[in-house]
Amino acid sequence: MSKPKVFLCRCEDVTLQEFQDAYVEGFTELESLKRYTGVGTGFCQGKSCLSEAAELLATLRDIPPAEVRLTNIRPPAEPLTFAQLAALDVPDPAGDSGSDS
């Protein structure tokens, strides 16, 4: 029996090996790695893996960790159902409805 895989992202089943391979293929930013491998795009929205992925990237690129740019994280931070959203009575954005671009 071979050794089990090391999972970086459990939601989308992205292994450590896949992430490293994608880096070798030329994906060197967290944002493009996310789009290529799917890391951080699952149900948990990156709560279980984005920090780890960013740390790995800093090691792979041999750069200071503070230079790793985080991916876009848009609200909400967890999946909702349409029913939950439909029940939400959103307050009027005071006076300026329709002026949004």
Partner: protein, 482 residues
């Protein structure tokens, strides 16, 4: 039937469960650890985060797919099933996949047959039905309309509300959040995804303090932690212009001053003039072979399962691996709940705590580095370790330990998503556990700096600003530099 029992249906069988537990815990206590299979490799997955974040416990409940079963209490007559049951992931297929894994290189599904287009289409048509979490019920064809599914009564029918504007909203009622709430200006709203204020460790710590055998007194690090929490609780209780919302979490931040909150299926909105982000940290299980094996938990998940669900661990063999206060709290809590322990401290441990553990006759295995955890059948884990210094390069002696569950206590990683959505700048700080928010400048007179440029004030306190620096994670897969 006594009223403290309920019966649920699981894939054709009737299971008897304690009432008041979550569906995932009820299944665990009935010997069912595999709640789902992973979307690509079909790996079994089980209870992991125990707080509704991850994919592992998503199941079909009363025909509704993707229900977080770690958060849903059991109800008489409930129908629960794995989303992939009977589909591609049946046991024989998993064996074939495991044996043939050498023929499937990493990422083959997006690398093979990309050209010509017709071949790519054929390939994708063939492979897509094999992945994912299974099909919705009610039809053989993928394109057949589904019968309407109505939501369980009383779930989404409650009117949603806007809580209005507060001078200060504190997200997280752990010791740091409570302390901030006690000193905050104006009308204060405090929310926490636990039902009671005190944070992730309080319930378990209080439970230990109430035990007659005085475990807590043996571990100074735990005793001081409980004192700190309860002091902060008293400070908060002393305020009467404060609202506490339990079982509620902030799930979205809208620039500049809006938060979306969720309690079960019920959403609420709130606006703030000041936001104190005290949401703490999340478990980090680490990167090692088999790190997705069902039965591996982080300390925060363990506290929730023991305190909220009363998870039965009596007689189970528990392996506790790691370092820091969570290592000792996990061990003490499991011991008090009747589990048999096997400890693998990976840091220096703390002299007083180590001698207390020896005194309690907890078996200690030192100098080990976690290498792999695998499963021999549902609920039986084998953890293998390498002895000696991992950096020396030579193959060390290996040691295997058997267990029913493994708790991995590494650094927590700061929760950062809502401040990031609101526009805060974050920096990756691996020695603090991940993307940590900057600590307030002056520790004495309360938070002073804002993380947001202009607009409302946002400050971060507590574990959201980073876990203890210098704490070592128990494991780490080799990262090869290309």
């Amino acid at each position: 039937m006594p009223s403290d029992k309920v019966r649920i249906r699981f894939e054709g069988n009737t299971l008897e469960c304690r009432s008041g537990t979550s569906v995932a815990v009820a299944l665990w206590e009935n010997g069912i650890r595999h709640l789902s299979h992973s979307p690509k490799y079909g790996r079994p997955r089980g209870l992991t985060c125990a707080r509704g974040h991850c994919t592992a416990c998503l199941m079909r409940v009363d025909r509704i797919p993707n229900v977080r079963t770690c958060e849903l209490p059991v109800r008489e007559g409930m129908e629960v099933g794995r989303q992939d049951a009977g589909a591609f992931y049946a046991a024989p297929m998993q064996k074939i996949l495991a044996a043939g894994s050498a023929f499937f290189p990493v990422g083959f599904y997006y690398k093979w047959f990309t050209r010509p287009p017709f071949l790519s289409r054929l390939f994708l048509d063939g492979i897509r039905p094999m992945t994912g979490v299974g099909r919705l019920p009610g039809g053989g064809s993928r394109f057949k309309a589904l019968p309407p599914v109505s939501a369980p009564s009383g779930t989404v029918n409650t009117p949603a509300s806007d809580l209005g504007r507060f001078d200060t909203v504190v997200v997280g009622a752990g010791p740091s959040g409570l302390k901030a709430a006690a000193t905050a200006d104006g009308r204060v709203l405090v929310l926490d995804d636990h039902e009671l204020p005190g944070g992730q460790r309080h319930g378990v710590l209080r439970g230990l303090a109430d035990q007659p055998d005085g475990h807590l007194d043996r571990f100074p690090v735990l005793k001081s932690s409980l004192e700190r929490i309860e002091k902060a609780q008293n400070l908060m209780i002393a305020r009467d212009d404060l609202t506490f919302l339990g079982g509620t979490r902030a799930i979205a931040g809208y620039h500049p001053d809006g938060l979306l909150l969720r309690r079960g299926d019920h959403l609420q909105t709130v606006q703030f003039d000041n936001l104190v982000w005290a949401a703490g940290a999340l478990d980090t299980l680490g990167l090692f072979a088999g790190n997705d094996t069902p039965g591996i938990l982080g300390p925060r998940a363990l506290y929730r399962l023991l305190f909220r669900d009363g998870l039965r661990v009596r007689g189970l063999q528990a392996l506790v691996i790691g370092d820091g206060p969570d290592f000792w709290l996990s061990a003490a809590a499991l011991d008090a709940a009747g589990a048999r322990l096997s400890l693998v401290p990976t840091g220096d441990g703390g002299a007083k705590e180590i001698s207390a553990a020896v005194d309690l006759k907890w078996p200690l295995n030192t100098g080990l580095k976690l290498d792999e955890i695998s499963e021999r059948g549902e609920g039986h884990l084998t953890a293998s370790f390498v002895q000696g210094t991992p950096s020396s390069g030579e193959a060390g002696t290996r040691l295997s330990l058997e267990a029913d569950l493994a708790v991995i206590c590494g650094r927590g990683k700061p929760a950062y998503d809502i401040p990031y959505q609101l526009g805060a700048n974050l920096a990756l700080q691996p020695d603090l556990g991940g993307f940590a928010l900057p600590l307030p400048d002056d520790s004495g007179s309360g938070p002073a700096t804002s993380l947001l440029p202009g607009g409302p004030r946002l400050v971060a306190v507590g574990e959201a600003c980073g876990d203890l620096p210098g704490r070592h994670h128990p494991s780490g897969a080799e990262v090869k530099k290309p």
